[in-house]
């Protein structure tokens, strides 16, 4: 009888400990909305890849200690099918049905803006890597009662990225050309992101002393030869294929065949992709990544990151590096939660994010959110040696301190 009693006591103690452990490891629901199908799938998949990696690393390291509790991240990933209506439905589901504390995504401006109108009133934090959010992130929008108070732009302001990129491109190409380049043509897709991005990049190039012509192509163009022939007639020193690496990978070989310019810049094309596709040009070509390259990074922590990222099965694509616009913010958010000591106080978390910094993978300089909830970091630009596919030289130029003349910021 005594043995039975002892056994029951041990069992009860074990059960209590198990319950205690269960209580200690609570769940922190976080939503991810990204295009896992549809036309934006190559960018959308990177968000999911980054989220899975970050959540796994945080959970494996013991979770997030908030007060006397430990939280493990539980990801709720929703495919928006590159459809704004599905994005909205997914946001409603995550916010209202599941009750997530934060949402990562999406990959496009329109979707992110519509989503913010759901996450804002519900006080759910939203991390979106669209630099075009800068167009709406102003004093009023991010104020305590503003509709973007809980939204954060995890990509630098466009004038910063444009400035950093323009400096990097010119510093790498100038020594390769017979005379310093003076005339640039920016070739860009005519959609929301393309219009927004190119408006800043043109100013950044002009600030570097370039005469700039802007040529837009309709989205989904596959035959670029008429427009490229027109550009050739402009006799540019550099043609900048700006925005949308997928389109650039179609247009660039056509430009090489036509011999459009003595040098090129390919925005958003990773050296890894250039190498994998065995692209080759007899003129100097520069490439930039958003924000750092997976194919030729000089930074060991970036290389380690991409080894783990691809190790989880993520595809190597022109936009794989976009994942770094989302990864670091999981750790920063976790750090803010631990500092605040509560998971149900989004206002305190926002305040903490705005006053703290975080040294992540994406930048050797600690990340800091400015008053408009935007971060600052440099863009890596690499140059591939003529007639090679795998000989790269990379540079990281810091963004300018202020927007160039004619650029109103954002």
């Amino acid at each position: 009888m005594r043995q039975l009693g002892l056994g029951l006591a041990v069992a009860a103690a074990g059960l209590a400990m198990a319950l205690q452990t269960a209580r200690a490891d609570e769940e922190l629901p976080i939503g991810v909305i990204a295009a896992q199908s549809g036309s934006f799938v190559s960018a959308g998949n990177t968000i999911v890849g980054a989220a899975n990696l970050a959540a796994q690393q945080i959970n494996d390291a013991g979770g997030i200690k908030v007060g006397d509790k430990t939280y493990k991240i539980k990801l709720y990933i929703r495919d928006n099918r590159t459809d704004v209506n599905v994005s909205i439905a997914a946001a409603r589901e995550l916010v209202n049905d599941i009750g997530v504390k934060a949402i990562w995504g999406t990959e496009t401006h329109d979707f992110s803006v519509s989503m913010a109108k759901i996450t804002g009133p519900a006080k759910v934090l939203q991390f979106s890597g669209n630099s075009s959010l800068g167009a709406v992130l102003d004093d009023k929008a991010v104020a305590d009662d503003g509709w973007l108070h809980y939204a954060f732009q995890s990509e630098p302001q466009e004038w910063q990225r444009s400035g950093s990129t323009a400096k990097g491109v010119l510093s790498l190409l100038t020594p390769q050309l017979k005379s310093p380049p003076k005339h640039s043509v920016v070739f860009v897709g005519n959609d929301a992101t393309g219009q927004y991005l190119s408006s800043h990049y043109v100013k950044a190039l002009e600030a570097e002393g370039q005469k700039v012509d802007l040529v837009r192509y309709p989205p989904d163009t596959t035959d670029f030869s008429p427009l490229l022939t027109r550009i050739k007639g402009m006799k540019p020193d550099i043609v900048h294929f700006w925005y949308n690496g997928d389109s650039t990978l179609t247009a660039f070989p056509q430009a090489l065949k036509l011999g459009v310019a003595p040098s090129y810049f390919l925005f958003g094309v990773d050296p890894g992709i250039y190498q994998e596709r065995s692209l080759k040009a007899d003129v100097p070509v520069t490439l930039s990544c958003v924000p750092v390259c997976w194919g030729s990074s000089p930074f060991p922590e970036v290389k380690q990151y991409f080894d783990k990222y691809f190790g989880l099965g993520a595809a190597k694509g022109p936009q794989s590096s976009v994942s770094l616009l989302y990864y670091d913010y999981f750790f920063w958010y976790a750090k803010a939660l631990e500092t605040v000591g509560k998971i149900d106080d989004p206002d305190a978390v926002v305040a903490e994010l705005l006053k703290s910094d975080y040294k992540g993978v994406v930048s050797p300089v600690p990340l800091v959110f400015n008053k408009h909830h935007q971060v600052t970091f440099a863009t890596e630009v690499c140059m591939v040696q003529p007639n090679t596919s795998d000989q790269f030289k990379c540079a990281v130029e810091q963004p300018p301190a202020a927007p160039p003349p004619g650029d109103n910021g954002g």
Binding site: R81, R92, V113, S132, G194, Q195
Partner: protein, 361 residues
């Protein structure tokens, strides 16, 4: 004996085959003109209304409700397209652009003048109606595929104008608006209230479509659809009626566009391009343009099919293509025709001859 047996067997098989083909013909026929009994129509309407009203209370979740809102405002736009195509025989593959006219009129008035939902709504609907009439002017000279091409071009042109419209149209980035102006005690930021707002608009669209369908005006439109020359010869002002129905269609599109705008609270040109327009044409053909519930059924199929079957966009397009082929081959009147035929087959042919107004639009 064996020969006789075989003959009888063949005759039996032939008779069975004839019956089967008759049954198939009955199930696949487009008998939009055959009226359903008034009691059946009333019961269907009451059940449908009750289901739609009860939807937020069924605990289906916010995701479901969100897609339901999308479905309903799409259906409202489709009722306009069904009127011009199903009743007057004028097909368009640029209907999303008409919705865009309404949405952008409302958004521009909101951004430039600070007007709210209720104030901009009539202007947006009127603008869509006017533009619908203007685009309809070529129908006085051309028809069929030529008009379809014109509407397609209008759609493409509309997107180009919006994309290059500077701050006035918000360019490719688009425009933002606030919430629907609340009514006393009703805040439309609440999703269920937003749902009831679009549902009320759907009921209006249904009622208008039904009344047009049973009216003299509806009969006139159908006469034009069936034989334009004959209609003209009996004194019908065909040109006026064609423009009229396109303007009415524009009113529906404008209403749908404004509801879409205030649901998303952000619009951009891509929402109103050629692809969304083709989807609208697909929905109305799938559902059945000549049936009262056809547009709603078409919108439900296209919006909910990817959700129910978890289809990605590529699979969805394949599924839509297959559905469209099946509908064209087997159900020229759309899924609505199939549902009606099944009902008629179950209830017996006599019920199909019942009195009262019919089940078509």
């Amino acid at each position: 004996m064996p020969a006789t047996d075989n003959s009888a067997g063949k005759m039996g098989a032939a008779t069975e085959g004839t019956r089967a083909s008759e049954r198939l013909a009955l199930l696949t026929a487009d008998n939009a003109s055959v009226p359903l009994p008034a009691s059946v129509q009333a019961i269907t309407a009451i059940l449908l209304a009750a289901l739609l009203i009860a939807l937020p209370w069924l605990g289906l979740g916010y995701r479901f409700l969100s897609i339901a809102i999308t479905t309903i405002y799409t259906a409202i736009g489709l009722y306009g397209l069904a009127l011009q195509f199903g009743q007057a025989g004028i097909m368009s593959v640029g209907h999303a652009a008409l919705m865009g006219i309404g949405a952008y009129t409302s958004a521009i008035l909101s951004v430039q003048l600070g007007w709210g939902f209720w104030t901009t709504l009539p202007f947006a609907m009127a603008m869509s109606a006017i533009v619908g009439g203007v685009i309809g002017l070529p129908t006085l000279r051309v028809g069929g595929q030529h008009y379809i091409i014109i509407t397609f071009c209008f759609c493409a042109l509309f997107v180009i104008v919006l994309t290059n419209g500077g701050t006035f149209t918000g360019s490719a980035t688009g425009l933002d608006v606030g919430s629907v102006t609340p009514l006393p005690g009703i805040n439309f930021d609440k999703l269920s209230n937003n749902y009831y707002l679009v549902l009320a608009a759907l009921f209006l669209a249904l009622a208008a479509t039904y009344l047009i369908g049973i009216s003299r005006y509806g009969r006139t439109l159908r006469a034009i659809r069936e034989n334009e020359q004959l209609a003209r010869s009996v004194g019908i002002n065909v040109d006026l009626h064609k423009l009229g129905v396109l303007m009415v269609s524009g009113l529906f599109a404008g209403l749908a566009g404004v509801l879409q705008l205030y649901y998303l609270r952000h619009i951009s040109p891509t929402l109103f391009g050629a692809f969304p327009s083709l989807y609208l044409a697909l929905m109305v053909m799938l559902g059945g343009a000549r049936y009262l519930y056809g547009p709603l059924i078409g919108a439900i199929i296209v919006n909910f099919l990817p959700e129910v079957l978890n289809l990605d966009p590529v699979d969805s397009r394949i599924a839509y293509g297959v559905c469209l082929l099946l509908v064209i081959l087997l159900l020229p009147g759309g899924v609505s025709a199939g549902i009606k035929n099944i009902y008629c087959a179950i209830a017996g042919g006599s019920e199909g001859q019942g009195g009262g107004s019919n089940g078509r639009a």
